[in-house]
Amino acid sequence: MVELGLPHSDPIADGPVIQAAAMRAIEAGMNTDVYFDVASKIRAQVPLVFMGYYNMILRRGLEKFAGDCADSGITGLIVPDLPPEETGPLRAACEKAEVDLISLVAPNTPPERISYIAEGSSGFLYLVARAGVTGARADLQESTKALIERVKTPLPKAVGFGISTPEQAAEVIRAGADGAIVGSVCVDLISKGDLAGLEDLIRRMKAAILEAVAVEAAGRI
């Protein structure tokens, strides 16, 4: 799956790397029209997912935005500043356009709220690996593994925030996640123009994850 971020001037959930990338993109003329144009031109074999802040969606109009997602091949939306209490109107628009609205669970989300969030989510559930904002971290916290275990849902579970190495990705898979979400480190490589490095990193991530999945599957037999 590829997450395509729409840059916002005030990204409150993002750390320095993605903030800086958003500023550069806005400076270079990126806006919502260009975004959907780019999205519709991407020919990927994997699903495309939107990531961006609520005001950008609100401004375009919820139904129009969800419709534009569907028309440009985007299958789901991740909106980090939209907790479940506020998702109602956008969820209705997404259902109408038949795209997923993916909810987030944080390490400090209480148990009863986890099920409330999971019930309202579609596509997959985004597990925020740690408190704070996006950005690479050297270590994977024990609390992240605990969170993966705590969240019980029929939806696939993907873990993000702070994952930057194949080892970390494999670790969350072994802990029971179905996917690892890697953002800042990719953005960083792109900003340096190191596309070969990016391809290499993604290949190594994929290999590490597939191996972790295989080991886990073998363990189950």
Partner: protein
């Protein structure tokens, strides 16, 4: 279902003594269609804990006693309601000034920070973080941090640090650390972003001390209630002085805390006109990235900024614009959601005073009354000078702060060297 639950959890018991809690509807996270909690999931739990602690404490006699003692003995409450004789003569009507400029620190900001810092301390937090634009809220935060023994760190845009060196020094003198914000436009809105990002990772030990009635629930409600002492006092004082309610109450609006503070005393008095004076800056137009003003109630549109649905300044795609005003405290591209609601339902009348009108208010009040107002408050004075008819026979202007901090700005504006 869940939203309903949270609302009923939030529903606070109204005590007999209502002066700390003049509320329109405390059972909601919203004011009409404005407000709410548009924040990352990580912040939902800290906000819930804060809302619960606050609604418990505000009716707790011990907490109220402590706050009340600090407000009188440390901050200097009650502040006077002063009949400005020369200004009244000039405008051919009675104009009273609510003297928040006489509060410790030189502005109304201390009412809010004292309350929040006490809540934080009772919650067991050891560290305060705050955002600041002009530095006034940062200075007030640094004061309570020192007074209550809490570590205090203040986020401030790099551009503002350059503009407000004196306040940076004051904060440091008071033992706070000023953290330069280099992201985005490097001004107040980015300082708020940075404080929210910090809080998302530090909430276990840290309270985010928001400086105005903006942000996600419970901040707009809590800050308004903590500032409502201005309106409670002013209402009693005017009744004592005049034997009747004023025809109007005017206040400047940045985020809206001094305005909501004084308005809240008069919300039920339908015959009293409530005038919210916003910064007209250098004009009513907007560039691609910067608006020429800070007038969200007058010229803004619906949007989400800093966790609340409100009136904001934005471009056609939803990117937030920078605002502009000579008064740093009014230089904010959003406004408190409750004010957006009160304007929409017609209870509050929005007005504009531009830089020129504010400078006129700044000078005239100095000469007429021997009071140098903060450039922010000077917007309300400037509006009164420009449109006295709007005030009626008896008016109160909320003098939210004193102008000593603005001397360099005004001198520079006049083509002088500044200091």
């Amino acid at each position: 279902m869940r939203a309903e639950q949270i609302r009923s959890d939030d529903h606070i018991e109204m005590g007999a003594d209502e002066d700390l809690m003049k509320i329109t509807d405390a059972s909601m996270t919203r004011f009409g269609r404005f407000g709410g909690q548009f924040v990352p999931e990580t912040l939902m739990q800290p906000l819930k804990e804060l809302a619960e602690a606050y609604s418990r404490l505000k009716v707790d006699p011990q907490f109220r006693g402590e706050l009340s003692a600090l407000l009188s003995n440390y901050a200097g409450r009650p502040t006077p309601l002063y009949l400005a004789k020369s200004l009244s003569r000039e405008l051919s009507r009675k104009v009273y000034l609510k003297r928040e400029d006489l509060l410790h620190g030189g502005a109304h900001k201390l009412n809010n920070v004292l309350g929040q810092a006490l809540v934080a301390k009772t919650m067991g937090k050891t560290r305060l973080i705050a955002e600041t634009g002009a530095g006034q809220h940062g200075v007030a935060s640094a004061m309570v941090g020192a007074n209550l023994g809490l570590d205090t760190e203040v986020y401030m845009g790099e551009v503002d640090i350059e503009r407000q060196k004196m306040n940076v020094y004051r904060m440091e003198l008071l033992g706070a650390r000023v953290i330069p914000v280099r992201s985005g436009s490097r001004t107040l809105k980015d300082a708020i972003n940075e404080a929210m990002r910090d809080w998302a990772g530090s909430y276990e030990t840290t309270h985010y001390l928001m400086g105005t009635v903006a942000g996600p629930h419970p901040y707009p409600l809590m800050v308004r209630e903590l500032q409502s002492i201005i309106g409670t006092e002013a209402r009693e004082q005017i009744l004592k002085a005049e034997g009747r309610l004023p025809d109007s109450v005017a206040a400047c609006v940045g985020g809206g805390s001094n305005a909501m503070g004084i308005f809240s005393g008069f919300l039920q008095d339908e015959a009293t006109k409530l005038i919210a004076v916003e910064a007209g800056g250098r004009g009513t137009s907007s560039g691609l990235k910067i608006a020429d003003h800070g007038a969200c109630l007058n010229l803004g549109e619906d949007g989400v900024l800093h966790g609340a649905m409100t009136k904001i300044l934005q471009d056609p795609y939803g990117q937030i614009l920078e605002s502009y005003s000579l008064a740093a405290g009014l230089d904010y591209p959003g406004v408190g959601p409750e004010l957006a609601h009160l304007v929409e339902v017609g209870r509050v009348t929005p007005a504009i005073a531009d830089d020129g009108a504010a400078l006129e208010g700044f000078r005239r009040l100095s000469v007429l009354e021997g009071i140098i107002p903060a450039l922010e408050s000077a917007h309300a004075v400037g509006f009164a000078l420009k449109d006295p008819e709007a005030l009626g026979e008896i008016a109160i202007i909320n003098l939210s702060g004193r102008g000593d901090k603005d001397l360099a700005t005004v001198m520079e504006h006049e083509g002088g060297e500044g200091i």
